[in-house]
């Protein structure tokens, strides 16, 4: 059972909800939390677990063999990302632009672009009680988040039981990294804030998950600020709002200390309880 926590707009509370929800669920059963925002993972600021596993993650990039290359330029023609260029008598490869699609390598008539491993990041696995926390982090300078997100999801699928609840803390936005993080999910929870900016990006996020054909619901964070635009939009479009987390200075203070919220703030505890209940009934096929 995979639940992606996404948002469209950044800073609406994806990590806050993911860490609190996963920790709350883990009080009573095994739960996985995977931080898929590999460009800037931050769930780890709130989860203090024991490090149990680390592994390097690699992507495949082509390496030019000048001895066998006949400089036909086909590689440059088939690359959609300008990651391979022919410059005079030289083929230049730009590893950061490469999506590892193998096109240049496979279609090279002389086999002069064999694919080689390149380290792109690191995956770490932590454990605290029933909570299994997986965090992947791109190394500095790496531009491609998608391959690392994919490999992190693969790791989760290979190492944890299908039935276990898995919370995916997704990247912000609506581009490729978010698609990768949510396309494997059974349910998407969109966290938004009740402001015009929050609404604007919520609409984009809704369009995206609709295209992916994913069931989705909304959680409003910082309820009480802004206006009623998000509420009206959800009502008109028949989108279910399953919880509202109030705007509260104590939440900001606790968050800023790197502490979990629900153990000390009753309104957050109530919200994660309701959301966890929703996930349970969704899992049973009642939603």
């Amino acid at each position: 059972m995979k639940i992606a926590i996404a948002s469209g707009k950044g800073g609406t509370g994806k990590t806050t909800l993911s860490t609190n929800l996963a920790s709350y669920i883990a009080e009573s059963r095994d739960c996985v939390l995977a931080d898929l925002d590999v460009e800037e993972p931050n769930s780890g600021l709130f989860i203090k677990g024991e490090l149990i596993h680390v592994e390097d993650k690699f992507k495949m990039i082509p390496e030019w063999n000048r001895e066998t290359c006949e400089l036909c330029g086909n590689c440059q023609k088939v690359c959609n990302f300008n990651a391979v260029l022919k410059m005079g008598k030289m083929i230049m490869v730009f590893p950061e632009l490469c999506h590892g699609c193998y096109a240049c390598s496979e279609l090279c008539p002389t086999g002069s672009l064999p694919m080689k491993f390149k380290k792109m990041g690191e995956l770490k696995s932590y454990r605290t009680g029933n909570l299994h926390f997986i965090e992947s982090r791109l190394i500095i300078g790496e531009e491609q988040a998608v391959p690392l997100i994919k490999q992190t999801i693969d790791y989760v699928n290979e190492n944890f039981d299908m039935e276990m609840i898995k919370i995916y803390d997704s990247p912000p936005g609506t581009s490729c990294p978010v698609i990768e993080a949510t396309k494997d999910a059974d349910l998407v929870i969109l966290v938004t804030e009740p402001t015009p900016f929050g609404l604007h990006d919520l609409k984009l996020a809704v369009e995206t998950v609709k295209q992916l054909g994913k069931p989705f619901v909304v959680v409003i964070n910082r309820h009480g600020i802004g206006n009623d635009g998000v509420e009206r939009y959800c009502k008109e479009d028949d989108i279910e709002i399953i919880a509202r987390v109030p705007n509260d200075r104590l939440i900001a203070e606790t968050y800023a200390r790197g502490d979990l919220l629900y153990p000390v703030i009753p309104s957050v505890k109530e919200a994660v309880k309701v959301i966890s209940g929703y996930i349970e009934s969704f899992k049973r096929g009642e939603k």
Partner: protein, 112 residues
């Protein structure tokens, strides 16, 4: 010698475009003949990735020796420009092409 400028238009009085990879136009000045040529680079908008190296490759086809721009190319583009043997001068982003040319001649621009 051919000197190329990243610009928002096609002539000497056009404003410079401070960007390299996604510059709208190139203004190409031939020192020998004192003639002006230009290249419309706006198709680069369609490239989601790798605008820098792509533009640098285009530039290499023109056989220019000197590039004058604003912010300077990124790493990937810089590798291509280096391979092409193009010298790069930066800091002309707020000038017109004519002013940038004068500044270059007076040695006022910084080499990248």
């Amino acid at each position: 010698m051919k000197i190329v400028f990243t610009a928002k238009g096609t002539g000497l009085d056009s404003a410079m475009d401070p960007r390299f990879g996604r510059t709208e136009f190139f203004v190409i000045y031939d020192e020998e003949s004192e003639s002006i040529d230009s290249y419309d680079n706006r198709a680069i908008e369609n490239e989601a990735h790798g605008a820098g190296p792509k533009t640098a490759q285009k530039l290499a086809e023109y056989g220019v020796q000197v590039l004058i721009t604003g912010n300077g190319p990124g790493n990937n583009a810089a590798r291509v420009l280096q391979a092409a043997g193009t010298k790069v001068y930066v800091g002309a982003g707020d000038m017109t092409v004519r002013e940038a040319l004068e500044a270059y001649k007076k040695g006022e621009l910084k080499e990248f």
